[in-house]
Symmetry: C2
Subunit: 205 residues, 2 copies
């Protein structure tokens, strides 16, 4: 759904959307300037204008960007209105926390279920979502029409899990296991290693 935009601009789109949605709806911010957005988010103001240009929402000299229209343009850009289905593999601490987190719907993402191989968890509901056995992964993903998946299994199982997911039709994976998952070019992967991020911070001190 979206074309030729620099990778880094795309990454900032949800940040803009998020920020604009938090502004009070009392008329104070019917218009907001790129400078104000830039300052709030710690970015350059030219950068903000360049990014926002990709949404197709035009700003007005002297007044700024119309907030409501800009939010709508960002939502359209990020396809927030076509609902997409996601599954989680691994219902441990992190998996459970994400199942209970409601923030995905802000981006039109519906978390439908989790998969795990712990008999104590299978059949239960976490955050209102069923925990299914691993051997129903393929079937389950297809039934729900899932295109997104979150991997929250131990490192040793992550790559295998990714391959199962890809076979089940998943097109993009958010991986929290502390290994780099690799996949073909037709599958997008973002790896988030929490401990590694803390280590990076530590070594910047």
């Amino acid at each position: 759904m979206n074309r030729d935009i620099p990778e880094f601009s795309l990454q900032r789109m949800p940040i803009y959307l998020n920020f604009l949605r938090t502004l009070p709806d009392d008329g104070t911010y019917n218009y907001i300037s790129s400078g104000a957005i830039a300052q709030a988010l710690g970015l350059g103001e030219v950068l903000v204008r360049k990014d926002l240009a990709y949404t197709g929402c035009a700003g007005r000299p002297k007044v700024g960007y119309p907030r409501v229209e800009l939010i709508a343009a960002l939502e359209k850009f990020l396809c927030v209105n076509d609902s997409k289905c996601a599954v989680i593999v691994g219902a441990g601490g992190l998996g459970s926390a994400l199942l209970s987190y409601g923030g995905f719907t802000n981006y039109g993402i519906e978390l439908s279920c989790a998969f795990d191989n712990d008999p104590k968890k299978i059949g239960t509901y976490i955050g209102g979502k069923p925990v299914l056995p691993m051997d129903e992964l393929n079937e389950g993903c297809k039934k729900y029409g899932a295109v997104l998946a979150i991997i929250a299994v131990p490192a040793a199982a992550a790559q295998t899990t990714a391959e199962l997911l890809i076979k089940a039709g998943i097109k993009a994976i958010l991986n929290f296991a502390p290994v780099q998952i690799t996949a073909g070019d037709d599958v997008k992967v973002i790896n988030i290693d929490v401990a590694a991020n803390l280590a990076i911070l530590a070594s910047m001190l």
Copy 2:
């Protein structure tokens, strides 16, 4: 502890370390080439050599890099051997999951305690770490000598929390609340917005 290295190279250091540590210790990988590392991690091989050069560990033409020495060099580079103390603010689902996660010690990071304002949680232990009341945050951080913090509170409380942490002497913050936290130049911040990452993936499809 580390000097003039490109930001992006620094970010890959834990990835290299992680990968090298997972290799079997049976003599198969006494030496490993930049090409092999590159392939396993989906990077360019020249890039790998450039990155590894920053660690000061020299590779040998024709054989590659000595694995054990390279791991040691990466550990030294990332200061894995000086123990650093971290705290978590927010003992909800995500905070609890991180308290129970043991992976921080791989990078010399000791998670000492959590802070929360829920009376039901205060006084309990999660993952063996005490949950302290929010109003002991300043005192607690100082007592433990914490320099790192993880924010896992609701968005509305995140910026305020960050400011309390900074006052308590915290120098780097990993923020999971879905808002961009801003801080002075002397405090490092990494913001990780899980839902936003999933939204980015979704819009790349």
